[in-house]
């Protein structure tokens, strides 16, 4: 398995490259009502409306520069905000262990990829979306 390594909100994370559809320059985002809590906004990729994963902290969402990683998940495409791509590496060039870091997205990061002396929480998009699939977001009062 190959992993793409990214930085967002000054934190590192990794995504399996098999899940990445493409990476685009930060698109215009729209804060539509009734979004699930794990999403901050939606954006258009061609004629597809895709939700943007919310950061638990930090300011990557909405920053002028940066990227959106468009990923496939079991539930549909989802965008992940990032500031920059660090590199793409083979998993065998590092090792995986349990992740103890606080999740940076509303997403599961059970595993951490150790590479060149740094730790990269491995984002599991499917688990994230499964977890929040029915959770109410900014529901009306």
């Amino acid at each position: 398995m190959r992993l793409a390594l990214f930085v967002a909100a000054e934190r590192n994370f990794a995504v399996s490259i098999e899940r990445i559809v493409h990476i685009i320059a930060r698109p215009t985002t729209y804060r539509l009502p009734l979004l699930k809590r794990c999403f901050s906004a939606v954006f258009l990729d061609g004629q597809e409306m895709i939700p943007l994963l919310e950061l638990q902290f930090g300011t990557a969402v909405g920053s002028a520069s940066g990227l959106v990683i468009v990923c496939d998940s079991d539930f549909g495409k989802v965008g992940i905000p990032a500031e920059r791509v660090l590199r793409v590496v083979d998993q065998s060039s590092g090792d995986l262990d349990d992740c103890v870091e606080e999740p940076m997205f509303y997403a599961e990061t059970d595993l951490c990829f150790n590479y060149a002396g740094k730790r990269y929480p491995l984002l599991n998009v499917d688990a994230a979306l499964c977890r929040f699939r029915t959770a109410p977001g900014n529901s009306p009062d």
Binding site: L34, L44, I50, P136, P140
Partner: protein
Amino acid sequence: MSADGGMMLVFRLGGVGFVLSVEQLIEVRETARGWLDTSQADVTAGVAGHIPHRGQVVPLRNLARRLGISGDTAFGEVLHLLVLVGADGPWCIAVDRVEGVFSAHDFILLETPSLPFVEDLWPFSQFAIYHGEPLLFVDPLDLEWRWRMA
């Protein structure tokens, strides 16, 4: 898929863009908020009050509240109203502003994905792309029906 012929009205509410077919629109009008009679408001049915319209009284439903849009958007001293076709008669919503009426050929109508939204509350089965922006497509009959089922 491009929208069929006809015209579409674009409006804004709480910073969100919406579009509806003018065939489902009876009138765009302004009225002083003082004309809003709240004596028979029904929050569970989304009815903020009633407005006199062409010799009858029509319900004003609070779309902003239905969508969880906070603040007093659309409910200033002057109400900008869209009077819509309903199953049993006209009803209306208050909006922040009407942007204009445009040819339906300029819109691309698409199914709204379910993933981003709280599914049991989401009332828009379609959205339209207009000048690169997603606008929520309002079907008054469908919206009214969902309100009654809520």
